[in-house]
């Protein structure tokens, strides 16, 4: 039976039998798409398997990549305006060369209303990190900030379109590395430090990042035909 299993895994795009230690939570969007496809197949409704209507893009493979990054803690207390710093890292190696990217959306879950009633306004900054390995040591070079936005309240999940940077990282065979910083906006009144520390600690606890990638496998789906004039 080993041989057939190997063939089946190849068909799924896997090298060997996956052995996850525990199942990752499945995001509601993937659950919904799966249930819709299953219902359509059962009722015999014809469906375009090469487009994801729920997301408005073409594609037949959807992947949710977990963040493999880590928090950074600054040694000097001088950077008091910084609430949270984290390197985000997404391993793109599971995506084969032939697949065409149609969507790459970063989801940042900032948790439920942790600072709903609190004063400090927060700002989120995202920049690209270029990782290189010299003599076995990883060095990181921060790029320009490409997202800078106020964090709304209540926060929940924020989404960012990272299609271009993800494509570029995948093309160069690298992981997608991002530097996330949450900053405190403006001056703080005395006595607000305690509240702020609470807010930042809460954010660090609840922060969860993932990258939703949609790709089109050209062997299974033809590229969209151009309409004639």
């Amino acid at each position: 039976f080993q041989f057939q299993e190997h063939v089946f895994l190849q068909f799924l795009g896997l090298d060997k039998v996956p052995s996850p230690k525990k199942f990752q939570p499945v995001p509601s969007i993937l659950k919904r798409i799966f249930q819709d496809q299953e219902a359509a197949a059962t009722t015999g409704v014809s469906q375009d398997l090469c487009s994801v209507q729920e997301l408005g893009v073409r594609g037949n493979v959807l992947r949710l990549l977990p963040d493999r990054g880590f928090f950074l803690y600054s040694k000097s207390p001088s950077q008091a305006s910084s609430c949270l710093k984290k390197l985000l890292s997404f391993n793109l190696s599971a995506i084969s060369r032939g697949e065409q990217f149609t969507m790459a959306q970063l989801g940042l879950d900032l948790g439920p209303n942790t600072y709903y009633n609190l004063g400090p306004e927060l700002e989120l900054a995202l920049s690209l990190v270029q990782e290189s390995h010299v003599w076995g040591q990883a060095t990181r070079k921060m790029g320009k900030v490409f997202v800078l936005q106020s964090v709304p309240r209540p926060q929940g999940v924020l989404h960012f379109n990272l299609l271009d940077v993800t494509k570029r990282s995948h093309h160069s065979g690298k992981n997608l590395g991002l530097f996330l910083e949450i900053l405190v906006k403006g001056e703080r009144a005395s006595g607000e430090d305690f509240q702020l520390e609470d807010t930042c600690a809460g954010l660090r606890r609840s922060l969860h990042a993932s990258l939703l990638v949609v790709t089109l496998h050209p062997e299974q789906c033809r590229p969209s035909s151009r309409t004639r004039r």
């Binding site: 990752q24 993937l30 799966f34 496809q37 197949a41 015999g44 398997l49 037949n60 992947r63 599971a94």
Partner: protein
């Protein structure tokens, strides 16, 4: 010359055979999140010339069965899927990525001679 009608019983005629594979039996439930199993239906049975038109056959199958009756060197029409439906699979790979993938033409819904 008239072609003799074959005496194939109804059971041996081309039709869909239902087969469900439970992923748990294969140990695949450890990485496939959904569905729980796969409908591995298959087509099997005879395609006698006399019943080619009745067995959900293509025009080509009719012609092939006719040719086979005239010249046994020509292969018989065979029992094949005539309607297939897709499946979606939700699974987790070794990098802990959650993957949703759609596969076309995976489940046999109907069979016929072709």
């Amino acid at each position: 010359a008239a072609i003799p009608a074959s005496r194939a019983s109804c059971k041996s005629l081309c039709h869909r055979h239902q087969l469900f594979i439970n992923f748990r039996d294969l140990g695949w439930h450890k990485w496939i999140i959904a569905p729980k199993g796969f409908m591995a239906n298959y087509c099997h049975g005879d395609c006698p010339f006399s019943l080619t038109t009745a067995l959900n056959s293509s025009n080509y199958a009719f012609m092939q069965a006719l040719m086979h009756a005239v010249d046994p060197e020509v292969p018989q029409a065979v029992c094949i899927p005539t309607k297939l439906s897709p499946i979606s699979m939700l699974y987790q790979d070794n990098d802990d990525n959650v993957i949703l993938r759609h596969y076309e033409d995976m489940v046999v819904d109907e069979c016929g001679c072709g």
